[in-house]
Symmetry: D2
Subunit: 381 residues, 4 copies
């Protein structure tokens, strides 16, 4: 008989959906000791909360997250609301002794993140941030290859996250749908939204980034604000490029933009090591590109590994070789790993502390873009 894991979800947007799908599916595909129970969803608008609950099978709704956090029949608070709400909810949930899963980025900035880390560590509650791309099987395989030492000394780490959805100057900013364009709610633009993903993966695969030098741009200076109805200055970064140096001596080249016509969600990375290189991109997430210098010389070439075999990370739990899974599965994997970790008394990863390191890189990037100088990156661990 499985133990119930009673989940209270805050937020009902895009991320509320990806998380809910993960809660519902994980147990069908992974052997878990806990049975996820969709106990409650919280949204300020009761009708929207009700509709979401009906669709996904949540047993109850709340309109005030404080009430949700206080409920005795909830074990875990999942935060899927906008960035400026993460800290308050998480700290309250920690105080209430709940396990916490928090959508990325952890916080609005490093100092806020520190408070969150302190709160969960003081409370001793399992905590995790939804940097889901670590759990794309091809990315997990990349991590394995590096951990096995196959790349040798790393020289270069290159990452990009390219989108094109804000090119039109008629797009407004702010409000429920477009809070990502509102600095007060999102904290930053592409840096916290997109580069944060690239940075989390990089820290996981290649270690600490010591220093950065960044450039940001806001191509469209003013947009109508959905809430005020007025044309206001756009305060987020539309694009951000940074160079950097990893602690292991390798060089970083990171870039993100929402003005790359033709790319919807093109998160790519490439890592060049002494003995091998790997590359991956989110638009074909089920493939890993791999070049091995140890291959016989006349037969060397980039291999396109179709990461769908039973031996590949997570894949024996799905279908049969050759049949691909998609974006949503990375959330299923992350939730399954969370449940497996707490079952074994291990720390789910990336933890709040792991995510604080990403926050520190983002902070240094944004600072550098302001100072026009190289900036050192603080370290959470």
């Amino acid at each position: 008989m499985k133990k119930p894991l009673r989940i209270g979800l805050v937020g009902y947007g895009f991320m509320g959906r990806t998380h809910s799908n993960a809660f519902r599916k994980a147990g069908n595909f992974f052997d878990l000791d806990y049975e996820p129970v969709l106990a409650a969803v919280c949204a300020r608008d009761a009708a929207k909360a009700k509709a979401f609950a009906d669709n996904w099978g949540y047993q109850s709704i709340e309109t005030d997250w404080r009430k949700l956090v206080e409920r005795d029949d909830i074990d875990l608070i999942d935060i899927a609301s906008p960035n400026n709400t993460h800290a308050e909810v998480a700290i309250a949930a920690a105080k209430a002794g709940k396990m916490i899963m928090c959508e990325k980025p952890l916080s609005m900035d490093g100092p806020e993140g520190v408070k969150m880390v302190k709160a969960v560590e003081k409370a001793g509650v399992p905590n995790m941030v939804w940097y889901n791309y670590r759990r794309v099987p091809a990315v997990t395989l990349a991590h394995q290859l590096i951990a096995e030492g196959r790349l040798g000394k790393i020289f270069h780490y290159r990452a990009k996250f390219l989108q094109d959805w804000t090119i039109s100057k008629d797009l407004p900013q702010g409000g429920a749908a477009l809070w990502r364009l509102d600095a007060k709610v999102a904290g930053s633009g592409v840096t916290g939204d997109l580069l944060a993903h690239c940075i989390d993966t990089a820290l996981w695969l290649n270690g600490h980034i010591s220093s950065v030098n960044a450039m940001t741009e806001t191509f469209i200076k003013e947009r109508k604000h959905t809430l005020t109805g007025k044309t206001q200055k756009v305060e987020i970064d539309d694009a951000c490029t940074f160079m950097g140096r990893f602690e292991n001596g390798s060089l970083a080249n990171f870039e993100s933009t929402r003005y790359a016509r033709g790319h919807k969600a093109l998160y790519t990375f490439e890592i060049n090591g002494e003995n091998a290189s790997i590359a991956w991109d989110l638009h074909d997430l089920h493939r890993l590109q791999y070049f091995d210098y140890k291959d016989e010389s006349k037969l060397r070439g980039w291999r396109s590994i179709h990461v769908t075999d039973g031996e590949h990370p997570y894949m024996k739990n799905w279908w049969v070789p050759g049949l691909q899974i998609g974006y949503e599965h990375s959330f299923v994997h992350q939730f399954a790993d969370f449940v497996l970790a707490i079952g074994k008394g291990e720390k789910p990863r990336p933890s709040f502390r792991d995510a604080l390191d990403t926050q520190y890189v983002c902070d240094a990037v944004l600072k550098s873009a302001h100072t026009n100088k190289w900036e050192k990156v603080a370290k959470a661990k």
Copy 2:
């Protein structure tokens, strides 16, 4: 309040899983009038049925499909058991007035398929065969483009389904895991298993195939049989190639094998028309290749359409542009379409009768491989 749609599943293998996942997910992503209820799963081995039911949330189990078919609290029988069981179960289910969804291929051969078609049409019950690839968004988009007349006169239709999982001569035949190698259970080898998919898509996209000329091969002549423990002749086709002519004047070139090293499930098709060509493959199922002769001449090229936008078939129900779905979603779509169709009193497609046409092509292919001559293809519609 949604009406319940009480499902009784026969079979608990790979297809039992894909169907169950579809039943559980469809309502989260599509607005359906019916609420799927996983009423019962049937398997001869009670323990296996129980484990499957527990995993997927079926409310009860049966060990005799006849009992399942007779139950009053079941609306729909879903057949996911081996090919040689389809006809018997489907005919009984039709007599019992159940809706029927049947895994492909419809039947062991055309004559058996005719009985099934008669049974469901006499009973007037909704019926459908799980040729799921029609519902891959890129394939549905291909169908749209052809229906819109964009290709003009069609000259060529080429399809392949390449796998490599039976190359080892140590692989046995038969039994629960390997019934696809046992002609008595599977009916045929790659023809019914893989080419049937290619043929279903082709008939849907390009119409009737009038005549075929085929070649089959069984590379490994004898294998140990799992059930008898003896080395026995392999009676299925390991590979099958056929040429053919469509009624619309275009030429067919189809091939399937389980001996194509390096390909796990490489179902591909390419269609060349007077004005445009399209190509697709299952290993990157979220992309459609499209060449349009009407493009400005110096800028003509094959477009790689990343079929993840809200405008693309089914995609507005999932995530956001750029984020891909996978194999399993084709089953979700097919089940959602089934439910939508019965809600509107329409005929779900592909129906048993549609699938009978595919069976007729398979029959003619296998006959031609035997007679070494061109064979005419019968027509169900």
Copy 3:
């Protein structure tokens, strides 16, 4: 001091250009004992011959190939005129004791080819047919890999040659520019023009094809004839597909057409062996795709080998790794190999006799398309 190799070229069309370029370049890149001398070019139209000679540096012109063949100051006759002239010129050149290079296909059909083979073998003159694709470095590398036994037992050989240049029904047939549409001059359509290339490569890589079963089609039945001005029946094959069996037990699937919208010269082949598979296409001729089952299992994938390293066939003679060569270089390689072979007293390949085997396959293909039956293939060697 190098010995001169005095060349007399018959024909001044597309192939006259590719050959002339090869004659001029080979010595700059390959260490040859002979110095090619562009002695004469022959064309019925003196003005055209003169213009061609001026452009390429031919020292003289002829307007009657018989005179050219008789000239004492010519060592080698290169035949680049339409197919229906090959036999007559070649046989006369052989009688005159000239070395002979002949554009493909060898002849209008097998019986004519036999006469040509007899003539050159009786005369004992070096002879070669310009099946140039053997000398694309990636294709030569494919040959090496097979010769080294890396593929193991071969199961499948698949080849296509797809073009789209005759789709318009307004295109006339015949005359200098369009003789390839005139059966009397070309012998056949895509079979002799395009499939002949695929067959030559296949025989070289995979051995004798024992039997074939073919289908041809002429999509546009009548076209205006350039020479007569009248609308006449089109007698060539616009498209040809054939299945076949190689002597080594592998299965053949070949197809060619000039009605594949979006493909200009897409010659592709793929070979599936027990241990490895290879694939190549002419549109990216500098790459070879290779899948090796002996790779570590979780890292298996198709490798895209960029065939530009010094170790790759012919490549040390060109530039530096990463810099690609093109179509014309296959002719340079073939001519260099011809010169190297005669320098060493070896037989240049493919010889007339080699090319006769390709002719026999073409003959059987065209016969089968007529009889609608399997046809055996004759053997030249």
Copy 4:
């Protein structure tokens, strides 16, 4: 009767070969008013000069470039010797009234380049720098598309040039073969060798770069010097990354390295505009990737344009559609364009002055890597 254009070549290395091939081939494929005459090749080592002359058909040799420059029977001096010789030879040649073609980069640095520009402009002689990639047909097509305004406002320009040939620490520096690792001869490492190409293309396609911020790295700090035999500090940059801002408001992200395992000569660029994006890479130089937002929305996708049609730049002079050319052809095109320009009394491009702009960007990049600050870029025009 064509006028002779008597060429004197300085240098016999890799670039001496690419230029000589261009001189020999251009007239066969392009209709030129001048007949290139390979008058003399100059190298300090007479035997090497002789061997080179014999191979390529140069009529004479010189061992002192000063004598070559003074010869009356030479019209054009082509400089293909190491970077630290360019200025001296070019200035002397200008004084002698010769036309000058100079291998890239123009000079060791900007101030030296200024002297060269002054010399050729004072002498009024035609002058050009071999930034050959402008003449790859796909790159020329990219230029056309931008000139036609198809991209709209440009947001991003991204370029990389990745190689992997200096990863081994056993590779020595300096000497004839490895002067590119010797800062005294090469001026810089990847910046002048590789990024210079990227910058030239960028200035041509996207205009002036106003400011840059760079990071360089020398991964292997010491190498044996071929000439001294001693282990010495490596003074060139092994890798260089820079961010920048173009005058048109777009953002630059450039990177080059010789430590990117798996890439031989992967020069790539991508340009994102408001209405369209383009991308290209040198490893598949005959393709241009193009995304057009004006395409019908459900059919938008990146087009892979196979740049081999008669309508594409330069291609009508070569073979037939679908048949690709290679690296060397960019030099043929550049030489043909040079000859055509002087025939028409036009200025060949890129001129010395054009190339000085590239030099200024390189200088600012190297300075920024030293100062760790943003640096303004000087302007030649």
